[in-house]
Amino acid sequence: MILQVSSLCTYYGQSQALFNVNLTIEAGQVAALLGRNGMGKTTTIHSIMGIRTASTGSIQYQGAEISKLASFSIAKLGLGLVPEGRQIFPNLTVRENLVATASNRLGKTNPWTMERVLTMFPSLASRISSMGNLLSGGEQQMLAIGRALMTNPNLLILDDATEGLAPLVRQDIWNALQELKEEGMSILIVDKNLNDLITLADTMTVIEKGVTVWSGDTGTFTREGWVQEKYLSI
């Protein structure tokens, strides 16, 4: 098990956002976190990454408690975040975005390099000297994934992985994630495209109003249609 979140509660000031989130990700698996807007998916990810400190509950990464660590310490342990809205550095070029924070702290034998990232996302190669704020949404998302991969994480976390992207670009992203899965990368993903998630993910976790209401493997999720109807339909 690479990540285990148990009874997670998180507040924004006096306002409680997460009440009881439970989530488990096995090494090498892809886990999807589902829920309607405002149910706490991003807060869960922010809590895991230490961007928003968890009030109570436990977040264990490879058996070690990380819920009270600073976000940069958590990232150094091998968690790579592709945040909602991409958040690439607008004042750096594509190349600079990739190399500025590149590292192989875990000493991986076949680390991610700029060449590997550009092979995975060829459209970035032609924009290598462009400033981050001059990229299209799809290119920014590719860059955000590439930047996270360049830190050579054990667990890649994607928040709204394909939000606002054109269908063709979206497909490129799903193909890249499939490729990463086949390479054995552990992934936690939040996205609204359920059909693509069902194709990619091994397990599903559904949260409703800050509480985990369902979790299980993807096969069971697709068979139990009531879960989608009750917790995900609009």
């Binding site: 961007i51 990232a75 004042n91 500025a100 400033m131 704020n133 001059l134 996270a148």
Partner: protein
């Protein structure tokens, strides 16, 4: 911008020595002061332009560097404090760098735990603290200041010769520009610039932004302290006035006027600032008024300062509205997004 920077550095290399040789010593003095302040402005730009840290206390480093010359010379001349009494330039330089580094480390370690207006105020408070500490030191002239009887002595260089002193200052400026260029294009510098645009994101990638900023702050302080060492040797008179917060404001204005995030921006800012100050004061005794109005106009209308206007002239802009949207003039807020030009384009 690259060619303009090269031309600017060539002008600075040629004009003052020629003016001196042809008997116009005043211009040599003016340009020496200009080059020294340009070094201080380039140092400030490292944290302001690249790091988004608006320090309002950088004049303290100028004073510390200058007193690192004045105090050893004072004791070498009048006795006492044998451990530092010296005319040796290397001793002065060593003290200037060491004191600036320690001061920057201590004040930076505290100041960098704050942000925005609080950071501005705390750096100004530290600067004023040093200002009043020096005022209280009557041994070294207190408020009246201290005359440096002998300039720093280096083997093979006589700093009493204005040409040699200018050569040292100019060479230092070129070296400092090269150093800042290398820093800003290193992974350290890129991380610093990334943290300026999105600190939270940078932390989530595994970067402890505080350590990066502190390192940049210390480097900036040391360079500024070195500028103070040169300033002390140039003026041969030092007083707490050179560490006043208004002097910090002047250095900051040179950076913003010239163009923060542009390598040569602070040099252009220092050049225009000093020349305008001189030319307007020739015209009227009330020169502060037109000077202030010109500076306000430059901030309001020059996108990215003078360097920004030179690298992307308003009459060449294809899309004026988008250009304005990506204005860099909010660099001082620390949250600026940058125009589609690079800081290192001017190298």
């Amino acid at each position: 911008m690259r060619w303009f920077s090269i031309v600017l550095l060539l002008i600075l290399a040629i004009v003052p020595p020629v003016a001196f040789i042809t008997g116009h010593a005043f211009w040599m003095d003016l340009f020496t002061r200009l080059v020294v302040l340009a070094i201080a402005a380039v140092a400030l730009n490292l944290i302001l332009g690249y790091g988004g840290l608006v320090s309002f206390g950088h004049a303290a480093y100028l004073g510390l560097g200058a007193y690192a010359v004045g105090i050893p010379v004072y004791h070498a001349t009048y006795g006492g404090f044998d451990s530092i009494a010296s005319y040796n330039g290397f001793v002065h330089l060593g003290i200037a760098i060491a004191v600036s580094a320690v001061y920057a480390l201590v004040t930076g370690a505290i100041s960098l735990r704050t942000r925005g207006v609080n950071f501005i105020m705390i750096t100004m408070a530290f600067g004023q603290m040093i200002f009043y500490a020096i005022v209280s030191l009557e041994t070294y002239g207190g408020d009246d200041g201290l005359t440096i009887d002998v300039r720093s002595e280096f083997p093979g260089i006589n700093l009493d010769n204005p040409l040699a002193l200018y050569g040292l200052c100019y060479g230092s400026l070129v070296l400092v520009l090269y150093l800042v260029y290398r820093i800003s294009n290193s992974r350290f510098g890129l991380t610093l610039q990334g943290a300026r645009s999105n600190e939270e994101r940078m932390r989530a990638i595994g970067v402890d932004c505080y350590r990066y900023r502190l390192t940049a702050y210390v480097i900036s302080g040391v360079i500024c302290g070195y500028a103070g060492f040169l300033l002390g040797n140039f003026t041969t008179f030092i007083s707490p006035e050179m560490m006043d917060w208004t002097r910090s404001g002047e250095i900051m204005f040179m950076v913003i006027l010239g163009g923060a995030t542009y390598l040569c921006g602070p040099v252009i800012g220092a050049l225009v600032f000093i020349l305008l100050e001189h030319l307007l004061s020739e015209i009227t005794v009330y020169w502060h008024l037109p000077f202030g109005l010109l500076l306000i106009a430059s901030v309001l209308f020059l996108r990215g300062g003078l360097a920004g206007a030179l690298s992307n002239p308003p009459w060449f802009r294809k899309d004026r509205s988008s250009a304005l949207a990506s204005d860099t003039s909010t660099a001082a807020s620390g949250t600026a997004t940058k125009a589609p030009t690079r800081a290192d384009d001017d190298v």
